[in-house]
Symmetry: D3
Subunit: 247 residues, 6 copies
């Protein structure tokens, strides 16, 4: 089985980190193909960037020219999943939703710990539209940007564990979902400190993708996710018209 | 007061029709500036096209170089409102949401009648995220595409009135919102036939934009809709890198 | 356009204050006609008073004998809107609902700051029945009665700002609605101190009334808000049978 | 135990019918005191009449001058319960809510069958505010007014049974609540025809009032239902100022 | 009237305490028959024990061989009510649900104070499935096990009152439901200290059972609670096959 | 990996059928251990049977004496999952929930088609408590009992396809979940006829169990699903006290 894992931003180091997590999580025999868009933001912290990334991700997938069995979209709380479901036939998994699915399977309620407060709304929106908000105890911000997390991992660990602890103590979360990519590897530390399972979105997405594809199931094309009708779309795919560097 | 009305697709005739509706609805003294994106779909019927349109709309607004007092996004059920709220300071109104606000002010419940069934979910999602789903009796499809509506307006009128009647009789809707642009002008016909008020989204958006801007209010920038942080965004705005025709 | 603004209580000074706010908010060319009931409470702080006021307001409107284009009911969280919608043809707007509509147009979530805790439930009920509760982060009490607010405005400002700050910090409200009439004029102070937009209900009601009436729309009479059927009603309108002072 | 049962309208024959149902339902030893307001509508079919009735009912209770152990408000879907809870100390029960409580105790879901479609919204609002909407399968109208029901009971029976049957077959209601006073006595007929239990609101209200009062419980006065604060209320109670016929 | 009150656990002293509360709450002329299962846990603190108790309770009822007019299931938050509704014809009341029904009749919102945090979810689930969660302000744990409550009643009183106070102050509960049997008798103390009504589940269940049975109503057998179809069930009732001590 | 699949009823042929489906769905290298309880119903169609089955399943698992990596509970809409989560450390998956998780990953909304109408409520309750009801378009009954399905598979296919078609046409379901075990093998037929993906619960449960266990995750033991405290439980495990046939 080959799973296409798409980093939604243009940071190659992030793509590599995501690929590593995905490969670590995958079953033996699963091949991970990790890619990133040709244009768009180096990191995603707001709706404007998220929309741009959604388009750049669809563009990258449309122009990939290579077969795969499932897609994992590795942005936590980003737009785009429904669009990708229209343009490919294989299952498409979003990591925020995948985290929540797995969390609900192992605990009565879960909380998400993410970076900045401004991202909380976007994550809540994704979970709500996916029908996964009911068992969400809270989406909490640790107050640090992705950059801050990268810059000082030790301080970040403290901030994230502190917020996860508030989720467990005050919101009665029984599982913690790590709400951003830069938090990979923190799961063992949090479990050790708080005694609750921690779900990493990329890992969850990869394993659920294996499960769904392994069941021989594909996205329903009966209505909402039917392929786009042929029509005139100016400059699409954008990558063919942009003077951006080749991959 | 000057209101920027953005047609989300690249059809110039649609832009003209929207501009006309907007001008007809506006108060005396309100100037309507109607624009359309430089790239993207000629019509929007699915999530892929909606996401692309959202980016093209943000791009068009970012590169406009002209002042205005409010923005009306003239796509019914399209993505993008939160992104535009981040990049401009003035109020930003989506016509699906504007329709629902006005409908709730004049009736106990409302239904939306839109084109194809595949658009129903997108409209439901917009209303739900905007906190306007509770008094929505139904979102119904008349089974015709935008193209069909354009091609045979008389047949379209019958199909739309029939569906609106089902909304009134079966779902107990007390107000009908016209869920696509091509339906402009149908409101009088439906009111005459069914005895319920009909809300046109572009008209509602323009008048609500006047109201909010007239109150001296602007989008809250305290958290979710704060401006994007400066960061490296490859090829953004895309319009500056694309070889598309000048406006 | 002429807008009838109805103070729900019998305090003439409150009617004057409301009229002033309404005139300040109105568009040029809009005439404000401010009235108050002939009987009922001088201020409204509980359901008993709210119901009595609702009847006195309907009575006042029924016996007005003067044309107008829209009605604004200037009680925050009071009963009566549906009754007035039945007895008049023009649009009828409640200021609690109007505040929430405007707040939702400019922020992801809003909080209401009102006077006493006992009024919180009534406001929550109004918002819920109007289908506007979903984006309401909280309804908070500042612990002061309307009388307290009038008596010591400086102390009231501190109490209200403090509660608004809790709404912003703890509940993540992005917009504040001022939940009682005595708070008019506090909006600039709160915006200056907290950096969030503040919505005044009377102002919001007047501008939304202009918008709805300007669109040529009226309350749907198809079902819930149809005029009352003719029937024997003992002593109605009450004002014609009461020995209360003439206006 | 003495239970005050208040007919919300001014029809003496309705008061008698309600009193009879209440006495039939009461435990041995329970005394029923049935009263009606001094002014207001002879029947209640809309919000205007419902608000007026709420005030007339509060007035009647305030001026009663006689002790009782509980109050049952015998209007189905009418306003006023919260107001009465403020002005008396003993438990106050609304028959729409009482019906729903009892229905939930004997079935998985219930439907209400009421008279005209325009009353459906009012009943839905009462159930929703009382926290009893979740197990409500539907509120259905039989299309007849109260007057029609009185005029031709045999035809009414057919219409009501037909609608109850739709509730059972289509909405999977397992209990039927009779949604207006004029339907008393229909319960046996419906149960015989459809095989589901039928709840009469007055009977349910009386028995629940006995239960709550028998437990020694009274309305919580800690916040929402605290007594009104002393203040100037012009012409209140209205009955003392009106030239209406003495009881 | 004879009411069967079933203690869900095998503690005879608990059965006696429940019987005493039930008799104290019952109307004159109501006979209380209190029983306990032949097998299962001596106390119930988790789902495993709750399920086992549900079966033991059904078994006890099936093999009772004595008539009664209603059943009260005296476990707070335990499973089993639907099963008992299938196997008997008379009304079946669960004390957690009964508490909530009564609480909703006397206050705008209620909170439950229970023993350990791990029981909170089970109580929330029962209330939600019964359609009674909407007016539930909170389910709070006092941090003590049933055993702790028995062992040191004075300390328990303090812990429970402290938690009830948090429910009143922070969650705006207007009524407190005592969420476990061991708390009987605490109601007066809490009411005296906090000024809010307190509902005891067994008392509420007994009085509501009298009310429902007194109305001549029985569980709807039209669908969900129809009697089980005849079929082969190995070793059922279990009590006939177990070597447990006779009652 | 070894997955314990538990048939909740005592039918050996059903255990075999479930084992076959599980083995067919499992990844290469996954071992399926299929068991059934020692006592309880041969088929489960009501709450009484479901509760008894839940206890018999917990008993069977407690006394198994063999290691495994995850548990799949193969009853659709049955009780027991939370109890098993308390008594084992490895992940525990319920097939109704597993179906819904997978369905939500491949479509906007899903419907369940089950056997008799009386089982609909139980399935709705399971989905609601699991936080999976939001995207459930409907739970529909085909009107046949499990026995009927077994007896005449061709007629059953027609009935099930007809009901699935109603779910797709009327409820806009985009995925169908087969809501009982006897329906295994119908998925291809339904997909062929209706063009929507069909999810089999046992298959979904097995693949999700592999995913969760493969991620190294286990049920959170921090609160709700902590192991039962040691206490006196009369006659537990029941299997040790019953004179039932050895396995």
């Amino acid at each position: 089985m080959k799973i296409l894992v798409v980093n939604p931003n243009t940071s190659a180091s992030m793509t590599n980190a995501i690929a590593e997590t995905a490969r670590h999580a995958a079953s033996p025999g699963t091949e991970i193909l990790a890619v990133q868009p040709d244009y768009g933001p180096e990191a995603i912290d707001c709706a404007m960037e998220s929309y741009l990334s959604a388009v750049a991700v669809m563009d990258r997938i449309l122009t990939l020219g290579e077969p795969y069995d499932a897609v994992v979209l590795a942005g936590f709380g980003e737009h785009g999943r429904e669009g990708v479901q229209e343009i490919v036939d294989v299952p498409v998994l979003d990591i925020a939703e995948s985290s929540a699915h797995v969390a609900q399977l192992i605990g009565r309620s879960y909380s998400v710990v993410t970076t900045l407060q401004r991202s909380v709304g976007a994550i809540e929106d994704r979970l709500r539209l996916a029908g996964l908000a009911d068992r969400c105890a809270s989406v909490r911000s640790c107050g640090l940007s992705t950059l801050d997390v990268d810059r000082d991992p030790a301080a970040a660990l403290e901030a994230i564990v502190a917020e996860a602890e508030r989720a467990v103590r005050a919101d009665h979360a029984e599982v913690i979902c790590l709400g951003c990519g830069g938090m990979a590897g923190l799961d063992e530390a949090i479990t050790a400190r708080l005694g609750v399972p921690v779900v990493d979105g990329v890992a969850a997405g990869v394993r659920l993708a294996e499960a769904v594809a392994g069941l021989g199931l594909r996205t329903s094309k009966i209505c909402t996710y039917a392929p786009p009708e042929p029509k005139t779309i100016t400059a699409w795919p954008l990558s063919r018209h942009l003077g951006v560097a080749a991959r």
